[in-house]
């Protein structure tokens, strides 16, 4: 789930600019459960650092100012590329689950695509790393 978070957050801010808390709420509505700020903001910060999103301060009528995140052209390219890779991966998993070894060759190519450094997927799992708060 954590690996998919990066792509999902990019997808959420692609439809319309949003602030961190709104992103948390939308992810909860989408079935991710209650995510803490400690899980969301490091991902947003990395997207911002990589130039995938840009942010601006919004001063609401009441309450403190907040930071809205919006996707950039670079972020949209990244989103399209990663979404395609995920589609391929999900399709391969479905086919493997249904047909077994007949689809093994196709599965290998999909997994190889997901191992490429640009992608953030469950295949990059590192068992020794401590995960951030969820």
């Amino acid at each position: 789930m954590r690996a998919a978070l990066e792509l999902d957050i990019l997808g959420l801010v692609a439809s319309e600019p949003a602030h961190g808390y709104a992103i948390t709420t939308r992810l909860a509505d989408a079935g991710f459960g209650r995510l803490r700020g400690g899980s969301i903001y490091p991902v947003l910060a990395r997207h911002e650092d990589a130039g995938h999103v840009a942010c601006g301060w919004v001063e609401p009528q009441a309450g403190p100012g907040r930071k809205d995140y919006a996707i950039t052209a670079e972020g949209r390219r990244r989103l399209e590329r990663d979404a395609q890779a995920w589609d391929g991966f999900a399709e391969t998993v479905r086919r493997l689950a249904a047909g077994g070894s007949a689809c093994a060759a196709a599965g290998r190519s999909a997994v190889q695509a997901l191992h490429e450094p640009a992608h953030q997927t469950p295949m990059n799992h590192k068992p020794n790393a401590t995960r951030g708060p969820a």
């Binding site: 961190g20 948390t24 803490r36 700020g37 400690g38 930071k67 996707i71 052209a73 020794n128 708060p133």
Partner: protein, 359 residues
């Protein structure tokens, strides 16, 4: 099948790859990776070499490249594998002061012995190692305390101001007590200074309760347990300003953003973001942070040499070979730190010229 760890991770590698393992370990430690993670990563690397049956350099590339790739991977994926220094507390400050004083007393004694010189043991001379150590720790504590709420520039200005005040205070005390010689000169004075300070350090370490770990600690273990929002912001601000290499504007934006989020969620910052040091470690860093550390270390060494030169002038009252040498080394190190800092800043600005446009 991989070998079981027998203690040091280098032992998992064959003899010809142990140099590679040592270099990789050094690079990971320098990048502030927690020791347990370093050992685990090296164990994985050793297992991969054993599985393939090749030399570490053939399987993983150079040790530097392998360590850099692992660090980049952990950062990219937001893995909390880092270690950091816990903020300085009263116990650490006092114990460090007296250990440093004991070390300085020995150095001064050694310096006198090498020059075959007998120093008049005035009160100022007797207390000089303790006062200098106290000045150094006070400067560091003031810098760190200021950094919890203010920018690095403000903290540096406070540190310099405290250093000047401390130097003036030490000089004034040494001058005021120049005619009072309570003891006979001799090696017992040096032994008394060193032993006295060491005993005080040991007693303080024994008596004062230890509230936090000493040295670099996994970030999740620092500041463990719920804390007030103010303390969370101060700890997180300190960690970000000290380690991230990001601008003050960036740091303040992160802290404000976290506060707004916790307010909207109806919880505390601890509830929403966990330990502040761990949260700060998970945020991206500027590539110059390693360089910044190196610059900081050179600046600290440089100032230490300058202080050594100053103390020699205060004790001897003349400008001899030791003073000229110490001040020259100090000035060179400080100048080098300043030049490196300016270069790093220029590189940082040219690497991040403007924010990408929003669609």
């Amino acid at each position: 099948m991989s070998k079981q760890s027998t203690g040091h991770p280098r032992e998992l590698f064959p003899a010809q790859d142990r140099g590679w393992a040592d270099r990789a370990l050094l690079q990971l430690i320098r990048a502030d990776v927690a020791r347990a993670q370093v050992d685990a990563a090296l164990a994985e690397a050793a297992a991969a070499c054993e599985g393939v049956g090749g030399r570490a350099e053939d399987v993983h590339g150079t040790a530097d490249a392998w360590a850099s790739a692992r660090v980049a991977e952990w950062r990219r994926d937001g893995d909390i594998v880092w270690a950091a220094e816990a903020p300085l507390d009263v116990r650490s400050a006092l114990v460090s002061t007296f250990w440093l004083a004991a070390g300085l007393a020995l150095l001064f004694g050694l310096s006198d012995a090498m020059r075959d010189r007998t120093v008049e043991p005035t009160w100022g001379y007797l207390l000089l190692p303790t006062l200098l150590a106290l000045a150094c720790v006070t400067v560091y504590a003031a810098y760190q305390r200021t950094l919890r709420a203010h920018s690095r520039a403000v903290a540096s200005a406070v540190g310099v101001a405290v250093a000047v005040c401390a130097a003036c205070g030490v000089a004034a005390l040494t001058w005021a007590t120049r005619d009072h010689e309570p003891f006979e000169a001799g090696w017992r004075i040096v032994a008394g200074q060193a032993l006295g300070n060491a005993v005080v350090a040991l007693l303080l370490a024994k008596v004062l309760p230890q509230r936090q770990p000493i040295g670099k600690t996994p970030v999740g273990e620092i500041g463990a347990g719920p804390m007030s929002d103010d303390r969370w912001l101060a700890d997180c601000g300190l960690a970000l300003r000290r380690e991230s290499g990001q601008s003050e504007e960036w740091v303040r934006a992160r802290l404000h953003e976290a506060t707004v989020h916790a307010h909207a969620a109806g919880g505390t910052l601890w509830d929403e973001f966990g330990p502040p040091m761990a949260y700060a470690a998970g945020l991206p860093r500027r590539g110059t942070s390693l360089l910044a550390k190196s610059v900081r270390n050179r600046a600290v060494f440089g100032l230490s040499w300058l202080l050594l030169g100053l103390s020699a002038v205060l004790r001897d009252g003349d400008v001899g070979f030791l003073v000229v040498g110490a001040v020259s080394v100090g000035l060179l190190l400080v100048a080098d730190a300043v030049i490196s800092s300016v270069r790093a800043r220029r590189q940082s600005i040219s690497a991040h010229p403007a924010r990408p446009g929003v669609e």
